[in-house]
Subunit: 255 residues, 2 copies
């Protein structure tokens, strides 16, 4: 049994709480939040507190708060030599106060408020100074049914950057697809199976091999037609830049 105290009540913390609670081999000893109202609905199933001085003993303390608040909260903990981890993609391991043993338990996934997520689809990036602490994090990820990877702070920061490309920027391309289809009096629903298939394809094939379309085919005629169709100058700039990027990746000069 792994005992955990969770600190924070944001979107990631709340998803994490539910997954920790659901595991047979994890005990959530306590849930701390500065504003206790945000977790008061859980009072019947877990010990909740808003006082750092009341925090109980546990194998792992998981700090899941906004990036800027991690260091300060770690300094405020009124104990030492216990195992304290954070869940941020961008905060260094060394930003945690060194009075405790330090680690990182970063879930590389997008969490949506109100939508449950299967934690077998949540890969964790793990980091710890002591080998025994790393093993404990591996056991914690395994107890959640999640894949896990040993990742350094530098690697994690770059993975977080890569995640911005494949998640936030991709979502913005969906948004542009939405804008174009709505302006067109056609329905965004028509594009949804394509969106899903595009993501499925790279689960088993490299994005390089999966690429299709006018840019990789050097189909200048279609590219020209598309540029003529685009009215929004922002969309046009993105079309041109990504078309060049595809041409560049596939070993060609600008189209």
């Amino acid at each position: 049994m792994i005992s955990v105290v969770l600190l924070g009540a944001g979107n990631v913390a709340t998803h994490l709480y539910k997954a920790l609670k659901a595991s047979d081999t994890i005990t959530v000893t306590q849930w701390y939040n500065r504003n206790i109202k945000r977790i008061s609905t859980y009072a019947n199933e877990v010990d909740i507190t808003d006082s750092l001085n009341d925090i109980k003993e546990a194998d792992i303390y998981i700090i899941s708060v906004s990036d800027d608040a991690v260091a300060e909260l770690s300094q405020s903990l009124p104990f030492n030599n216990r195992f304290v981890v954070h869940t941020s993609g961008t905060v260094s391991l060394y930003d945690l106060d060194k009075k405790n043993r330090r680690g990182v338990f970063y879930p590389l996934q997008t969490f949506t408020q109100g939508a449950d997520l299967d934690f077998s689809d949540v890969p964790f990036c793990l980091e710890a100074i002591e080998n025994s602490d790393l093993s404990l994090l591996q056991s914690l990820a395994a107890a959640l049914g999640s894949p896990n990877y040993k990742i350094s702070t530098e690697q994690r920061k770059r993975l977080h950057l890569a995640a911005v490309f494949v998640n936030n920027f991709t979502n913005q391309l969906y948004r542009i697809g939405h804008e174009i289809s709505e302006a067109n009096l056609s329905d965004f629903d028509i594009l949804k199976p394509l969106i899903l298939e595009t993501a499925k394809k790279v689960q088993t094939m490299s994005p390089y091999m999966a690429q299709t379309g006018p840019a990789v085919r050097r189909d200048k005629k279609t590219i020209k037609k598309h540029l003529k169709l685009i009215e929004n100058p922002h969309h046009k700039a993105i079309y041109e830049l990504l078309t060049d990027s595809i041409a560049y990746t596939h070993g060609r000069k600008k189209l």
Copy 2:
């Protein structure tokens, strides 16, 4: 029973052939290709030909060849007043020779050579001049188990443009995620569940509502850190443009 003659043997045509063949309410009367070798492996299950003069009678003739070849092939057909459709996203209905009844049967999906696709995930954009021909295309899509939409040539051209954004450009962002993770000695596999979840999210939530990350949060500190991390100038230009695009969509000036 709907009888079909298929013309062409590219990626879309081959996927279409298999789906047509598998349907209980469709007969593939004949498969034509200029180069018969490309379809000779199917000779034991369907009548194949490389001669336009030998083409048989059928309810629908589906021309599935490269965009540039559609018009010419439609002119070469040695019959008239039959129902001839193409499968292109960019070719006009009126590019088909008017000696026959004309239509469009455009599957808005990405087809991967060798990978089977469930046709319930292939929405068809339908167009025809006669109402009875449109009904026939609706029956054909239904016989494949596919959703279908009545879409004009102008709408279809814009949907094809939107598809380039959500498919080709998204795939290029995956490629950049791949490059960043590989250069980082971490594994692209870590990003795969995030890629899939990002696509799943917009099946039930608008991309606008689904957006997260530093650009929409106005988190200038993280954006600055990311820009410092990016070594490739192409990646940097894309990061900046898409960050601005997200800020613009969400009602903000440049970040």
